[in-house]
């Protein structure tokens, strides 16, 4: 039986893959989005910032900021899920740049006002074919069970 890899090697490889994907998208840095990784599970975090406000009276997050957060989470999850198996099997991260899927359409359902505090999101790839993928994503703030927005998007897979 093959000896298990040292944990730091596994972690380094997975972090390198995640970083390679996130670094491709400057807009992720502009919004300040971070990704928390536990094994293959990704949680996106949108740290609160005053520039994300869309309704100063409530105040509430801008719908555009929420939409972008959801779309980024869906896209990174899809690219991550697609590459994960190969990277784990090979034991190495392929040389970049990674080709990212392209958004075909994205539908956001605004359930309640986004509060002026950190937001979290997780995406689930419901269908991933050779050319097209369908991804669902949910976002919450204080309470995981009380979503403030959810979305479904279709993506065109990169030709490899």
């Amino acid at each position: 039986m093959k000896r298990p890899e040292p944990v730091h090697v596994v972690k380094q490889r997975r972090e390198a893959l995640l970083r390679g994907l996130v670094d491709r998208v400057p807009y992720i840095g502009f919004l300040g989005i971070q990704f928390d990784r536990h094994g293959d599970e990704l949680t996106a975090i949108l740290p609160y910032h005053d520039s994300l406000i869309g309704n100063p009276i409530l105040p509430a997050l801008h719908g555009g900021a929420t939409a972008a957060f959801l779309e980024v989470t869906a896209l990174i999850e899809l690219a991550w899920t697609t590459l994960w198996e190969g990277v784990e099997a090979e034991g190495t991260v392929p040389d970049g740049p990674f080709r990212l899927p392209k958004t075909i359409d994205f539908t956001v359902d605004y359930l309640r006002a986004g509060l002026p505090r950190d937001a979290y999101a997780r995406a689930r790839v419901n269908r991933s074919g050779r050319r097209y993928a369908s991804v669902h994503v949910e976002a919450w703030q204080d309470n995981r069970a009380r979503l403030f927005a959810q979305a479904t998007g279709h993506f065109l897979m990169p030709i490899n």
Binding site: Y27, S51, H62, G63, G64, I104, T107, V108, Y110
Partner: protein, 139 residues
Amino acid sequence: MPDTLTNAALFVAALPYSQALGMALETVAEGFAVLTMPYDTRLIGDRETGVIHGGAVSALMDTAASVAVLSHPAAGGATATLNLRIDYMRPATPGQSLRARAECHHVTRSVAFIRAVATDDDESRPVAMATGAFTVGAA
């Protein structure tokens, strides 16, 4: 058009997030708005191509739609997005600013239904199109 509506429209176009993305209000009429957003390298969605991220295009269309709703006579000075669907038809050309035109195509006592189109310099080929539902009056 009453000044209050113009003010509401200007107010929305000047929101912190809209400002962070460099949006500017170009035209506003009853139930109709045009907003522009300059090309900005911070908004790039793919470093390899330099194309603006869909999320930024979506924010522009959402804001244009909000202004269109607020400038509708039946709006009552407040709105929030219930649902927005965006179709990304083609990548926006790097270096060119984007323009979103939004209009209310139907407004009831509680909901405004909007349509929006985003274009770059080539106005004959839309970059993205959106349809959505917005609240009318208090959410």
